[in-house]
């Protein structure tokens, strides 16, 4: 259709406002009050594009542009979301162009990357976006041909009629976009999926693999300044005085300013700013306790014994169960603080001018960042634009937009566009860590080895709630007591991939191994027994907090694939673990081999129930990545403190897992057709439990505290 190529997008926006009752107007990046660059970035290539809804426009050249609203932090939504839209649109994936949508609270809900919630939240709305547009295209074709829409079919971007008539979506786009979007369009039967469930490669691969400037760190704008911000060197310290004269006199330096407890060095290039930072003379003074790791160990001991305790769950009477017990099992587990350490350090760009602001950068919670900045600078939220860049890893760190706030504040002070870059040292010493925690588990067993009582006491340092009281074994054991204590510390903490459960799950699953041993039961059989009798507690909506049948399924699958109940070769030892988090069920078996006295972790078997797998490639990446992540941090991760100051400041002392240390990993998905749940986190929590349990079988030694490879533990070299 020729006319569509001359039909500009701007005209379309105008016309659709007149004609298209209920039709989304698409991205009004062309509207007034936006900055030039945003227009240049987003309007390019949109000539002849027809918007069907917030997620999708069809272009007259036969391609489709699918907008991905959620931040892409490596979890793969920028590929899996558009796949879902394209599936219901019935389009050729090769002709899809994916564009990262900016923050737009009118068009999109929950533009957040976190909690593995993007997929379950968006599944239906993405499918509807595609299906509705498909229906509009069919109606346009039917109208054009004067046939009944029910006789039309679609096939990979083409509408066909039994008479032999056919038209591509691109040819129909202009007419179709004018049709009022129908409500309640039926969705595909999952068995007809062609794109969902296949191995689809990351849509940004070409840009990533050729070094295109797609990350916040790479953002450049003519005339922008570069800044670094120095924070107090220790938690519990504040800025006392600043002499920035020497730094300001250094080459390339524009200004040295302080605000709150920050000292910002602003200059033209990164290296000049880095060098000038060394010349900053800042004095700091104590404003709160300067805690060391030794203090934390003492605090854990004290609070395990007493302290302000919150009872999170109380079922039955554990005191009576323990009094009547034939056997009592008890164990304590502890984990250190961790840095998120995403490969791309924190950075952000802000250009604040009067009562407007343009923000660009990596953040997992763009709306919250914008709203907090609006409040901080006292400017209306609608005067702030936020453009998302691909994010070089988050692991929860970029749920907190502190670095975006300080960038915006700095820009408003120096009245200039500025990109703030944190060094690795700034990142590792800058706080918002995975909190340190200690747990005590107790189980009461009767003569037959049944668990009659279960107690968990969790002590966290700025951990908020360090326990998960509604999860298993609540509902599977008659008498349960779960308590929590939180110590308030100047050391800042935040969610770290699979918050709390990243350590709690492995500890719990190690404890269950100990319980099984005391009960004289096979650890897998014992868990199956527990789930067969479980009556899960109900959540606020009156639904069970977990599904015992789905638990059983992943347990059986992992046991089968690992040969758990089969005879094993000499020297081969298996450890089991299973956990439910973020709506996904994961069972894992770690295989440790002991030969000639040398113990090594060889393999991890993993069974996952996340419902429908949207992108096979992305799903495997997330599961295997989570296993590697969980293993590396369980073995080596620790951030320690001396007088409030982190002792590890960079990768030369903060140890991460490397390529020569990875076990083989086999992943199996349960195929049950249930709506998909997220995978960014759930394969991490159980992993350390499976490894610890396998190590116990091979060595007779229980590793309960992380990092496992701490000095004197004898676990160095198992990877």
């Amino acid at each position: 259709m020729q006319s569509s190529s001359t039909y500009s997008r701007r005209d379309f926006l105008k016309n659709s406002a007149l004609i298209g009752g209920g039709l989304f107007l698409g991205f009004d990046m062309l509207g007034s009050g936006r900055f030039d660059a945003a227009v240049a970035n987003s309007a390019a290539g949109l000539e002849g594009a027809f918007d069907f809804n917030a997620y999708l426009s069809i272009n007259s050249d036969g391609t489709a542009t699918i907008f991905s609203p959620n931040p892409e932090v490596g979890q793969g939504v920028k590929t899996s979301f558009p796949m879902t839209v394209a599936e219901e649109l019935d389009f050729d994936w090769k002709l899809v162009k994916v564009v990262q949508a900016p923050l737009d609270t009118v068009k999109f809900e929950r533009q957040v990357a976190g909690g593995s919630q993007s997929t379950p939240h968006s599944w239906k709305r993405l499918r509807q976006a595609g299906a509705t547009a498909r229906r509009m295209l069919m109606e346009a074709a039917a109208k054009r041909w004067g046939v009944d829409v029910a006789t039309c079919k679609t096939d990979k971007g083409v509408v066909r009629h039994p008479s032999g008539k056919q038209a591509t979506y691109g040819e129909l786009a202009a007419e179709a976009a004018k049709i009022a979007p129908p409500a309640d369009v039926p969705l595909k039967d999952p068995k007809d999926f062609r794109i969902i469930g296949t191995f689809v490669r990351n849509v940004d691969n070409h840009d990533i693999l050729t070094g295109k400037p797609i990350y916040g760190m790479d953002f450049y704008r003519e005339g922008m300044l570069i800044a670094m911000i120095q924070h107090p060197p220790a938690f519990g310290m504040k800025l006392k005085s600043l002499d920035g004269a020497a730094a300001k006199a250094m080459p390339g330096i524009v200004d040295v300013v302080s605000f709150k407890n920050n000292v910002a060095v602003v200059g033209k290039t990164t290296w000049e700013v880095m060098k000038a930072r060394e010349a900053v003379k800042a004095e700091y003074e104590k404003e709160a306790d300067l805690e060391s790791t030794a203090d934390h160990d003492r605090i854990f001991k004290e609070l395990m014994a007493g302290g302000e305790t919150q009872v999170k769950r109380k079922d039955g009477d554990t005191a009576a169960a323990f009094a009547a017990a034939a056997k009592i099992v008890e164990a304590e587990f502890q984990c250190p603080f961790l840095s998120h350490a995403p490969m791309e350090p924190m950075n952000f760009f802000a250009d604040v001018r009067g009562d407007r602001a343009e923000l660009i950068g990596p953040v997992q919670t763009p709306q919250s960042a914008r709203d907090q900045i609006a409040k901080l600078l006292n400017i209306p939220a609608e005067n702030i634009t936020l453009q998302l860049m691909r994010i070089g890893g988050g692991f929860g760190r970029r749920l907190r937009p502190d670095y975006a706030l300080e960038t915006a504040e700095l820009s408003s002070i120096i009245k200039a566009p500025v990109k703030v870059i944190w060094t690795r040292e700034d990142d590792m010493t800058g706080g918002i860590y995975r909190p340190a925690a200690r747990y005590r588990f107790r189980a009461a067993l009767d003569k037959a080895g049944n668990i009659t009582g279960y107690e968990l006491r969790g002590v966290g340092i700025n951990a908020g709630n360090p326990v998960r009281e509604n999860n298993f074994p609540a509902g599977a054991v008659p008498n349960v007591l779960i308590e929590a204590v939180d110590h308030k510390s100047p050391i800042t903490t935040g969610p770290w991939r699979a918050p709390i459960t990243n350590f709690l799950a492995g500890a719990e699953q190690t404890f269950f191994d100990e319980v099984a041993e005391a009960a004289g039961k096979d650890p897998v059989t014992m868990r199956l027994e527990l789930f067969r009798q479980a009556q899960p507690p109900l959540n606020n909506e009156g639904k069970p907090t977990y599904d015992p049948q789905r638990f059983i399924k992943v347990i059986e699958l992992a046991a089968e694939k690992s040969g758990w109940f089969k005879k094993r070769k000499k020297g081969v030892h298996l450890g089991f673990s299973v956990y439910y988090s973020h709506l996904t069920y994961v069972a894992q078996v770690a295989e440790v081999v002991k030969r000639k006295g040398k113990v090594s972790l060889q393999k991890v078997y993993c069974a996952v129930d996340c419902g429908i797998v949207v992108n096979k490639s992305g799903a495997l990446n997330q599961v295997v990545g989570s296993i590697v992540d969980g293993l590396g941090h369980a073995m080596y991760g620790q951030l320690t403190f001396k007088d409030g100051e982190p002792e590890q400041k960079n990768f030369n002392t903060y140890r991460l897992i490397r390529i020569n240390e990875i076990p083989e990993v086999e992943v199996y998905f349960v195929d049950n057709g249930i709506d998909p749940t997220g995978l960014g986190e759930p394969a991490l929590p159980p992993l350390s439990g499976a490894v610890a349990n396998a190590l116990y079988k091979a060595t007779g030694k229980r590793v309960r505290n992380q990092p496992f490879a701490a000095e004197g533990n004898g676990m160095e070299g198992i990877l």
């Binding site: 940004d204 693999l209 490969m343 990768f651 390529i659």
Partner: protein, 152 residues
């Protein structure tokens, strides 16, 4: 400040910077070649890996004054169209998660294959062990190196 003439990706650039400026920041800030990444600045992660006369080096600790006449290759210059065997293998295996470390991984792998077109598992692990991937994409990195070796 001093003037340096650098040969990068087959082009000649002249830049006026302090002699101790790491090659990484010359590439990123002055030449606007931001494919080479910063992640640690202390030669501990490999994100900043570039080739100097074909050998993999950490550009974050290499002062510009030490580059001399060597030919610098960055990820942008590894191939004209992004079709170097290592890049093609990385795409086919779909290695990237967040992707931030991958330019460094690719440059290290390309230098390895240049030296040793058929590396064994241990040689691959050894050569690649200086490159961190916080997302844990190591299995696919290993598979992609092997595939790239096949593609030659």
């Amino acid at each position: 400040m001093a003037t340096y003439t650098l040969r990068v990706n087959g082009r000649t650039y002249t830049t006026d910077v302090a002699p101790d400026t790491p090659l990484l920041w010359v590439l990123r800030d002055h030449l606007r070649l931001t494919g080479t990444k910063y992640a640690c600045g202390v030669a501990a992660c490999g994100a900043c890996t570039v080739h100097l006369d074909g050998a993999a080096v950490r550009s974050c600790v290499m002062p510009v004054s030490a580059v001399g006449n060597a030919a610098v290759t960055t990820i942008e210059g590894l191939s004209e169209k992004g079709d170097h065997p290592v890049q093609r293998a990385w795409d086919e295996v779909d290695v990237p998660q967040c992707g931030y470390c991958q330019a460094g991984q690719i440059m290290t792998a390309a230098a390895l294959l240049q030296r040793n077109p058929n590396p064994g598992d241990e040689e691959i692990e050894q050569a690649m062990s200086g490159n961190l991937c916080r997302c844990g994409a190591y299995h696919r990195i290993r598979d992609a190196v092997k595939l790239a070796a096949k593609k030659g």
